[in-house]
Symmetry: C2
Subunit: 360 residues, 2 copies
């Protein structure tokens, strides 16, 4: 017999909980959260390998338009053949008790549809970032998960990543004194023909895909939401790649405390993910801040110098991410990277594009 946290709390209130405690404690670590992965692209591979290293999660379903590919991956991860779905029969996961949650790893424009369908099927949702291609979709996703009483988490890896968290802790502990300014950048030189440059699929250009890391970082580093945003966008290379989305976005933000931040993102240059935080007592910087591994924190404040390369290897970020969401599901707690966190980013992305004069 297993109990949800809500049921258990109810029993506790009736002074009947005590006798279930040993059972619950013994069972909680054993019942792994089963994920169905929707969309079997590159990032899904990272996620599935990451799940293998968790104690509380497993891959129990696959959703793909390519049955042969799904069969191959199913064999690899021990997924039963009756747990493989396509995009038409996907809603049948509602009847599959092996699937507790889905991981949505589809192009951005499909996040809303599959999050909402999964919620309606009674499954918790871990959805890749960007949450959606616009605010309305994000709101609908949150509403659908709330209505279905399932959890929604947006896959902001860095909110669970030790070097990023170390930076946040140093700042919160006052190591840098009063933070004044942040710089962050992230981009890459995109190849031709990717879905990321298809506006209908991606929603927009590099801001949706990688600039969102800098936006998100400025928010978790400050612990604040920007109150003013100004931006410029541009396309320099007219080689066919940027017929639908912009190549560059540069933006600056002012937070309520007065902290200012400036960020760049691009699809036209290999722009390593990085942030640098300037405080009254010194600075800290994380290089490769948003990469799957190779992160390195350096800092210099109040006579202390830090140089902390993070030896963790991919897919450790995905292990942490899946592990946390499974624990949220098991414990009935809210994910740190909630739908509301994702929704806010969609609002700020919208504001950045509006300021840059780009309709999305």
């Amino acid at each position: 017999m297993t109990l949800t946290r809500r049921e258990f709390a109810k029993l506790g209130a009736l002074s009947l909980g005590a006798r279930f405690v040993p059972t619950l404690n013994a069972q909680a670590p054993q019942k792994k959260i089963g994920y169905a992965v929707i969309g079997l692209g590159v990032i899904a591979g990272h996620f599935m390998r990451g799940v293998l290293d968790t104690a509380n999660s497993q891959i129990t379903g696959l959703v793909s338009g390519h049955r042969d590919k799904a069969d191959r991956i199913a064999a690899q991860y021990g997924v039963a053949s009756n747990c493989i779905y396509d995009y038409e029969n996907f809603d049948q996961i509602a009847h599959n008790p092996a699937i507790d949650a889905v991981y949505v790893a589809l192009p951005n424009s499909m996040h809303a549809e599959y999050t909402i369908r999964a919620a309606k099927a009674g499954k918790h949702v871990l959805c890749e970032k960007p949450m959606s291609t616009n605010v309305a979709e994000a709101e609908a996703m949150i509403a659908a998960c709330k209505a279905a009483n399932v959890k929604l988490m947006i896959a902001y890896r860095c909110l669970y990543e030790p070097t990023n968290l170390r930076a946040v802790k140093l700042i919160r502990d006052g190591a840098l004194g009063q933070v004044q300014a942040i710089e962050s950048s992230f981009g890459f030189n995109i190849g031709p023909g990717q879905w990321r440059t298809n506006k209908k699929l991606a929603g927009g250009g590099p801001l949706f895909d990688v600039g969102i890391y800098s936006l998100s970082a400025c928010r978790y580093l400050t612990g604040e939401d920007p109150e003013h945003i100004a931006a410029f966008a541009s396309t320099i290379d007219h080689d066919g790649r940027f017929a639908e989305v912009e190549e560059n976005v540069s933006w600056t933000m002012r937070f309520p405390s007065g902290i200012v931040a400036s960020c760049n993102t691009t699809y036209g240059a290999p722009m390593e993910g990085c942030f640098r935080v300037h405080g009254s007592k010194g600075w800290l910087q994380v290089d490769e801040a948003f990469s799957y591994d190779g992160l390195r924190l350096t800092a210099d404040f109040s006579g202390t110098k830090l140089d902390e390369p993070n030896p963790a290897k991919d897919p450790s970020h995905f292990t942490a991410e899946a592990g946390h969401f499974s624990r949220n599901i098991q414990d009935g707690t809210e994910p740190r990277a909630s739908g509301e966190v994702g929704l806010k980013d969609m609002r700020y992305i919208t504001e950045i594009y509006r300021s840059a004069g780009i309709a999305i």
Copy 2:
């Protein structure tokens, strides 16, 4: 007999120049340009030490309100006692043939007055940056120097500094491919009671004093002038230092080619001067880009990695700066860091403040 370049060219046109050539060649390197230094603060010390290392420049006059201090420095640099002026009798330099040029190292608000008075005295002017505290002053300075037929250079050290020039050359030579974006920052944590936080003397906050380096860098790195600027300013610390000027400015710019740039400056944090340039083929970064020494260029493009610390020591930037301006005077050529270059920065600074909602 010595001839100006204009007179010499005239003689050449009359086929009379040839007989003067040996005399001119022999004399040109011998006649050093004599500078009167106006304002004997910290940066004047760097400049005077820098001049000692030039082949074509010397300190021949001092202008100070403190005669004892001036006497001490005069002894150090071999300045004759009849070449020491105060702010009242300054205009008498007109009658001093040992003084060819002045170096204006006063607080920003006094740049215009002393540049114009020096021009009226028939002396060339090397004026510290920022050129002035507003556009009107900058225009008046240029007009005065033009009317007096004297040269005007703004002391943008970095336009003559090898590591900055190396970065420019790598970009112009196409090492980075198509440049897409630039980040730059420069600031420091200012002590209380400095003239730099007195708006009347400084014109404004860190943007005038140190942010101007990032603004200038974005211009010489791109070879373009920004066509759109957006900015935010803030003051976080209410400890008396920022009663008159802002503490932080963050701004983003879009250049005609589409290159975007984001910059931060502060008086509230030790923010090392730095720029990073992102191109389609790779990136380059200069750390301590605007310091007197310790500059370091790193880059990674097309399989090439560079790590070039610059071993030059202060006051080498000032040596290059004075040497170039003296050569401009000797050769009758226009300084790279002309008054027009400084005027443009004043226009962009004005636009940054306007965008940030600050009256200057």
